[in-house]
Amino acid sequence: MSAPVIWILLPLMAAAIFLVASYRGSVAVPAALLSLLLAVLAMFVPIDTAMVFGSVSIKIAGSVQLLGRSFQFGAADGPMLALVYALSALWFFGSRAGGANRSFVPLAFAVVALLVASLAVEPFLYAALLIELAAMLTIPLIMDSSSSGERLNRPSNRGPLRFIIYQTLAMPLILFSGWMLSGVEASPGDLALTSQSGILLGLGFAFLLAIFPLYSWIPMMAENASPYTLGFTLWLLPTFALLLALGFLDRFAWLRTSTGLIDAIRLAGMVLVVSGGWLCVFQRHLGRMLAFAAIAETGLAVVAVSLNSFLSLDLVFLLFIPRGIELGVWALGISVLKINSGSLEFRSCQGLARTHPIACSAVILSHLSLAGLPLLAGFPSRLALWEQLAQVSLDLAFWLLMGLIGIFIGAGRTISAFLMAPEFQPWQLNETRHQVILLCVGMGVLLMLGIFPQVLQLFMDKLHFLFEHLVQLPAML
């Protein structure tokens, strides 16, 4: 048995089985358990290393050949696989409580498997193709849960259409720029080729990562799609797009050393943080609030990538782990509210703190965590990023703070909407037991990661070995 078979083919086959089984009943728990099993295997079973049990030796081969190219996992991939499947398991566990569509679990499982395949494919450039495939699978995931409308050209199609346009435009740009980059490696003095490939690559990632102003599909989808599936999409796709970006920086030395490109990445990230953060301030819809906060969060990761030191890898991974939990808890919270209030507009959510205190607390806590409030999961990564950024430029550190303040004000407005209850409205607990347990566990994890961030070190120690050249960069900028 080889690692790609276990962590790619097996989940894909399981997704197909779950898709058939989902018509008979919920498959959330079996899928979550399988995902958890894959995470445990990835964490504790070394890849490409023989394990000896008495006289028996077992080895999970690292690669498999497919159509002349290889899918390859190394020992360094284990923690990443464990992280992705563990966080996916949390999303699968919450899918039923979040009112996700029946096809959510099988399709989401297939999306995860395809994105994991994008980590393994060699040459790594082909990851763009697998990300595009995953993006296409995301469409039914999102559309299935959206409200009904006209048969053709219904307005709610606009977000998914724009999403698929941007993701599809990204793929050729990245593939072609990757081919050009190999030419740049061969003749580094060719400035025209260098700048052309840099522009194509930048455009490709701008589409893929929804860099300003190409993120219009996110708030559009936030209005119609189920918050839970949208949250899942906003967690998973940018995470793997950023890993692909890190792969480019790792493989092509001139990208790492190009100060112009690094400055452009930093600027793009900062614009995402500030625009996403401040657009939170003006939202009157909880789904759109989540969307803009997720955009700002992606911006933080892009800024972390632009720091271009070995610490930037630590920062990126430090942002990844809480992001999955924050978005999960937030999406589950607003899904519960949407199920009960029917709409996520502020006017429909007024006073919900009295009738759905746990869901409202989860939404607020994850929102504040994303804003970087101390003692919550998002705080350590933001503090570390702020510290590193301040060494580069105090102006940039100021703008980062401004973006986070925007998210924080958005949280304040959400709190005020939740608390606007009629005078004699009694306190009630209308969430189901399943929802209460999941939301409380999520909030507990957010608090635990904020108070004891060193727990993340378990993963972080090994994660940066995924990028062997980036890890060798000096700490000082």
Binding site: G68, N153, T432
Partner: protein, 208 residues
């Protein structure tokens, strides 16, 4: 000589089909013209790839178009809603197409210097398709036409990329992406007609 003639014919087919796709209001014609684009693309790709491998693009493209056509056949009435932002006049679309074609044909020789050995017809055909696809995306928000625009862009890209990358895995994945895009188009057309089935959380039997 014969190769040159056929390549030039393929480029002419691309020019006619992509312009026709832009100005056509009838979905049947649009799909037929898109199929014509795939035929021309097949010929241009076969200049660099074995015919068997190049045929993958033709087959997957035509399969996608067949899927779109079969789905669209289920709907009657207006072909598309009124798109008020851009003028819908025939001549305006012809003018836009002419501009894009001129730009693509002007850029092709420069790109040939940059990518020697590909041949002018391959580059010109590819640039025209990508340009017209982008133009198509810019002037429509109709499901079917957006997907046709995306397929046109991908078709153009595949012609160019086939000449620099001969991997079977890439050919296979691109074929799956073509087919997948067409299926996404079918899904987007159909999605509004079926009420979603939702996995009821405990205590909630129906969710609207």
């Amino acid at each position: 000589m014969l190769d040159n003639l056929l390549s030039t014919s393929a480029v002419i087919i691309i020019l006619v089909a992509s312009t026709g796709l832009l100005v056509s209001r009838d979905w049947r014609w649009s799909l037929a013209l898109c199929a014509g684009q795939y035929l021309a693309a097949f010929w241009l790709v076969s200049l660099h790839w074995p015919v068997g491998l190049a045929a993958v693009k033709l087959v997957s493209g035509w399969m996608g178009i067949a899927a779109l056509g079969l789905t669209r056949l289920n709907f009657s009435g207006e072909d598309e809603t009124k798109e008020k932002f851009w003028p819908r006049q025939l001549w305006f679309h012809f003018l836009l197409a002419a501009i894009v074609i001129l730009l693509a044909l002007a850029a092709a020789p420069r790109l040939e210097n940059f990518l020697p050995g590909l041949g002018l017809p391959v580059i010109a055909g590819s640039l025209v398709l990508m340009g017209m696809g982008l133009l198509h995306l810019g002037i429509t928000s109709h499901n079917l036409r957006v997907i046709l625009g995306l397929l046109t862009i991908l078709c153009g890209f595949e012609i160019l990329y086939a000449s620099v990358e001969g991997s079977i895995l890439v050919a296979g994945l691109l074929a799956v992406i073509n087919l997948g895009l067409a299926l996404v188009g079918c899904y987007l057309m159909l999605a509004g007609s079926v009420e979603p089935e939702i996995d009821s959380p405990e205590g909630f039997e129906t969710i609207v």
